[in-house]
Subunit: 230 residues, 2 copies
Amino acid sequence: MFVNAYREGLGTDMPEHPAPRRRQARGERRISQLLQAAADVFCANGYTATSTNAIAREARVSPGTLYQYFPNKEAIAIELGGRLIHQMREAHGQVFTPANMALPLPELVDAVLDPMIEFNCSNPAFLALMHGSDVPGRIAEEHDELHASLLGQVRALIGARAVPAPSAEELDRIADMAFAVFKGGLALIVAAPEGPTRGAAVAELKKVMLRYLAPVFGEPEAAVTTTPTR
Amino acid sequence: MFVNAYREGLGTDMPEHPAPRRRQARGERRISQLLQAAADVFCANGYTATSTNAIAREARVSPGTLYQYFPNKEAIAIELGGRLIHQMREAHGQVFTPANMALPLPELVDAVLDPMIEFNCSNPAFLALMHGSDVPGRIAEEHDELHASLLGQVRALIGARAVPAPSAEELDRIADMAFAVFKGGLALIVAAPEGPTRGAAVAELKKVMLRYLAPVFGEPEAAVTTTPTR
DNA sequence: GGATAACGCGAGCGATCACTCGTGTTTGCC
DNA sequence: GGCAAACACGAGTGATCGCTCGCGTTATCC
């Protein structure tokens, strides 16, 4: 979670506690400030096209200061990506609870989609950083893990509720497609301006998910009825 | 369509025919070869992270040769993007025909989706080039035009067939969401390995579209029935 | 208040990249 | 065959970028 990669101890001594680098409160603030700036610039220009000097400039800080907290450009993206992934894990950890798993389908869709949408709307850098083809490999790995974890939970949820129970291959296909379709709709939602437009897009995406999953869940009637706006 | 941006005539004379640059067959072949190489490398590394020397190397050609046909790196991406967009326009021009517009919903989904999927599977550089946040602005503009054009045809199609007729805002929302959901599913399909896996993903995406659009088209029964695999 | 170390700076260094240029080779045309 | 022009080359050039280093400032601990 912290910037542990930056240890100045290149020596062979201190094998146990590797120079614990007491960080002052000011330093922690600078790190957050730099990561926020990096998120903005990465989001606007992508990883490769972003220069470290541009990040420092955005954070109103000199390049030297930036490199006091991060050993290189990649470490900035890794730390930022790590924090975002951690937040995402925390958010979705509270989603797949036994109580939610038993909800009727429309409420279940609300319970699963809303936190994800909320997170991605408040953290646009997440999609920008995870989706680029030029991000450092480490981020791609962590993102793959997160993706697999989310997919597993979706698969478990659908597998537990689907009527009749699908085969393993069918279950994989359904979970993969549900997730992919959600990501497509999410991109539209994030791109929409905040306000009623975005709210309408959210409701529309939920219609898609509901109509797709209702037959899977053995609730064909839900495919036609419209979700009452809460 | 051709590499028109590359005109060596910086002089003030020849206002009409600006140095027509007779190109030999060999040159045309080189251009295609360079664009193919650029497509591969852009696809693998993204636009910014790709060096012109890497494109030349991929095409088994010296950097100087590359710059005989393209004035700069951006022009390579623009020409490649332009050709892909042109192909895409040709493909979808044959999709929204009056005959197809009258098809029953399942066949309509087949007729619209299949060419798009086919094109994107054979030209993975298209998505890579259009979707990146670091592509030159010119490409983004052309892509926006194409996107708006496609969206307009989808909107017209849904507007003509929807029962009961939706309001203008509803129609916009439905067309936007249908397109966004399709793009999400398309990403899954392109990422899937060729063969039965991909075919199953295509069938699954069609289920999503069918179940979403059936109520819009006033065919609620189609939401439940599975599409027979052809 | 003094010692120590974290913090902050910005000019500058080496590497890399987009791009050029001088020269030699191949092709099309008479 | 001979000439002009298109084609091909690859070492080299200026600019940019990631990153460093030396030095001055601020916070913490006794």
